[in-house]
């Protein structure tokens, strides 16, 4: 079997296409066993969503123009959350080249969350119990987190690993678009595109070369793996 080429996973968010439907949030929560914290806690700012839709409004009601911007962990190449963790719970994976949270190692200093300029990390303030029928569809591939640990988007690393293993078993390379995080899979407008940035012909690479591209807070030097395409339409983000 041929030597496996290390992939450089990346995501493109086309703000022209995002309708702010929040399907990505729902799909992500189902895939990654993100618990429901209840209406009050969400209102208090303790939702555990790994991806959120930032909503900005222009104008006065009812003449408002909403713009939506889905924000998840930007999988920084130079991640501010990593050096500040005293117990290596926030680490860079060598194989996938993404930023992972090791839940079992986290002691909950919450330094990483403060130091993340995107506020992509969320904290388990309590132990959250899922109501009965929902307990049955927990994803066995993803650790269920207990109170006091930090968690965040992993680009659905379990899907990446699964896809790579499958390809390896079949003796072939991963096809473009074969691995998709839950948010990408669920996005009805195809505003989210995921793939290997090291392959110049992959769909994500081609989109990332778009003239509308920009990175979130790129002046901080975090080298994000998520590329945004600026919305230019009348309702663009």
């Amino acid at each position: 079997m041929a030597e496996e080429r290390p992939a450089k996973w990346g995501l493109v968010v086309d703000l022209d296409r995002c309708t702010g439907c929040n399907a990505c949030i729902a799909a992500c929560s189902m895939e990654n066993n993100v618990p429901f914290v209840g209406e009050d806690e969400v209102a208090y700012g303790r939702a555990l969503y790994w991806i959120r839709t930032q909503r900005y409004w222009e104008g006065e009601y009812p003449e408002v123009t909403p713009t939506f911007q889905p924000v998840m962990c930007q999988q920084c190449g130079n991640a501010p959350c990593e050096p500040v963790c005293p117990v290596y719970a926030s680490v860079h994976s060598e194989e996938e080249q993404i930023n992972l949270a090791v839940y079992n190692r986290c002691v909950g200093t919450r330094y990483c969350a403060n130091n993340c300029p995107y506020f992509a990390r969320v904290f388990n303030w309590f132990d959250y119990e899922l109501p009965e029928p929902m307990r049955s569809y927990l994803n066995p591939d993803v650790t269920v987190r207990r109170r006091g640990v930090m968690e965040k988007c992993t680009f659905c690393v379990q899907r990446i690993v699964h896809g790579r293993q499958k390809a390896r078993a079949e003796g072939r390379e991963l096809r473009d678009g074969e691995v998709q995080p839950a948010c990408v899979q669920a996005c009805p407008a195809e505003a989210l595109v995921f793939g290997d940035l090291s392959d110049p012909e992959s769909r994500v690479s081609r989109m990332a070369r778009n003239q509308r591209r920009y990175h979130l807070l790129e002046e901080l030097g975090t080298l994000p793996r998520v590329t945004y395409l600026k919305g230019v339409g009348s309702h663009g983000g």
């Binding site: 700012g45 930032q54 909503r55 290596y88 002691v107 200093t109 330094y111 403060n114 300029p117 807070l217």
Partner: protein
């Protein structure tokens, strides 16, 4: 011993001098035996009110600190008011506050010792005790604020089954090492000058006290060789602990300055935090001295108006230095031109919690500058008590501004948020204040609070000499 003898300032006849030098502790010597007796009496006298305070504080510690903390461990950090984006709240604020207070002891007893400031002599021990107990109270917070405190030992570098060291790039690990070093060295530094006083107490007590002091005095007999070694050890520690003290609060400031958070990412934070720490620490020394002087017997002999006067001058200087660094923080941010940091500083002064910012400025600048230049106010202990308490309120407000208020107003407007402390947090904070006071109350009756030998040493060096018809205060430099 006497190598050099010099007169203080212009020799003025006593009648014309501004004040009677005998108002100074150093020129008002009493026999050693009498001072011993006074310190022993101060230590062994307990009133009904004292025990009421001890029991009350112990209950507060039990319920507010350990009760609330235990409940939070069992339920989750969510009992605290912190939420996205403000992940650090009053726990870290109070942590920095206590670490700041802990600078007082070392400042007073090491720096003033090295600079031979004679007025420090009677209250070095009182301020060193403050250092130790403030560190004890402050060192709880890194544990309290952990999401999973039951695995706190993962922060300690020890050989473990996971073959994993802590991440030495993390400022939290530096913090852990710096605070541990400071706690150990300041405890030793508290203990060293205590040995002769413990021996003094050993010789004047019976029963359980005698047994304890005999153990702690390490068989001190007061021979010339013992004194020689003790002085050398104290000297070495006095010099060695100064860089440790500077490093501790610099490293605490790096918890913030190393981060990418706008408004924290500043090179001025190290010295800024140290000046703030010394300001709040020295202020706390004054508050404590007032309480000691007004509640313990014979303390008005040792702690005098001149001490409040001298500390008041120091406070004025530090308040000005603090104001300079505060201004500098704005200057650099403005010059640096980062939009977010600039907006945060504006937000502090105009946002919904601007009153915290104004409280800080009033307590740290306006009040000290308006009052401390005045000699009469500096020599009024109760006024100094109020002023120094207010300075510490101001310093608490400073940390509150730097931590939760800055975190709540970062780069992306969608993530702006405010934070209000919840009862659990407030209760734990009150609990550690009670813990500090309780430890101090207990220690004040267990160890001699005035270093008698240091006072006596100073008094022996200060004499009123007759020059012609005038009496002139003169100081003999020791060693």
């Amino acid at each position: 011993m006497a190598v050099e003898s010099k007169s203080l300032e212009t020799p003025l006849p006593l009648a014309q001098a501004e004040e009677d030098p005998r108002e100074h502790l150093m020129f008002d010597p009493r026999p050693r035996e009498e001072m011993n007796r006074m310190v022993m009496e101060a230590m062994t006298t307990t009133s009904r009110r004292y025990w009421a305070w001890v029991i009350g504080l112990a209950l507060v510690v039990l319920v507010c600190l350990f009760g609330a903390w235990g409940n939070m461990i069992l339920t989750g950090m969510g009992l605290a008011g912190i939420r996205r984006p403000v992940f650090w709240g009053v726990f870290i604020v109070t942590f920095v506050f206590w670490i700041g207070i802990s600078h007082a002891g070392t400042f007073v007893s090491a720096i003033l010792r090295v600079f031979k400031a004679e007025f420090r002599r009677p209250f070095t021990r009182a301020s060193e005790l403050m250092t130790t107990f403030a560190l004890a109270a402050g060192a709880l917070y890194p544990l309290i604020h952990l999401g999973r405190v039951w695995v706190f030992y993962w922060l300690i570098p020890y050989p473990n089954a996971r073959w994993l060291w802590p991440n030495f790039r993390s400022p939290l690990v530096w913090d852990f090492l710096a605070i541990t070093t400071y706690l150990l060295s300041s405890t030793i530094y508290l203990y060293l000058p205590l040995v002769p006083d413990l021996a003094m107490a050993r010789d004047r007590t019976t029963g359980w006290r005698h047994a304890v002091y005999r153990l702690l005095a390490l068989g001190w007999r007061g021979t010339e060789a013992e004194w020689h070694r003790l002085r050398r050890a104290i000297n070495i520690f006095a010099f060695a602990i100064i860089p440790v003290m500077f490093s501790v609060h610099t490293i605490v400031s790096w918890d913030f300055a190393v981060g990418v958070v706008a408004g924290w990412h500043s090179t001025i934070f190290g010295p800024y935090f140290i000046i703030g720490a010394i300001l709040s620490g020295v202020a706390a020394v004054v508050s404590i001295l007032f309480v000691l002087r007004s509640t313990m017997v014979h303390m008005d002999y040792f702690i005098r108006k001149e001490h409040f006067d001298a500390l008041g001058k120091l406070l004025l200087v530090f308040s000005m230095a603090w104001a300079y660094f505060f201004f500098n923080d704005y200057l650099l941010t403005w010059y640096g031109g980062e939009e977010t940091a600039r907006r945060i500083l504006t937000f502090h002064a105009t946002g919904p919690a601007a009153w915290v910012w104004y409280l800080m400025l009033i307590c740290n600048i306006v009040i000290p500058w308006l009052t401390l230049w005045n000699r009469t106010i500096r020599r009024t202990p109760w006024a100094m008590f109020i002023i120094t308490l207010l300075i510490n309120v101001g310093m608490y407000a400073e940390r509150y501004t730097i931590i939760p208020l800055t975190l709540g107003h970062q780069r992306m407007p969608f993530d702006w948020g405010v934070y209000t402390p919840r009862p659990t947090e407030i209760s734990i904070v009150i609990g550690t204040f009670a813990l500090f006071l309780l430890l101090y109350l207990l220690a004040s009756r267990l160890i001699p609070l005035v270093p008698v030998w240091e006072v006596q040493e100073g008094q022996m060096a200060h004499t009123l000499r007759r020059v012609g018809k005038a009496e002139v205060p003169s100081v003999t430099e020791l060693e």
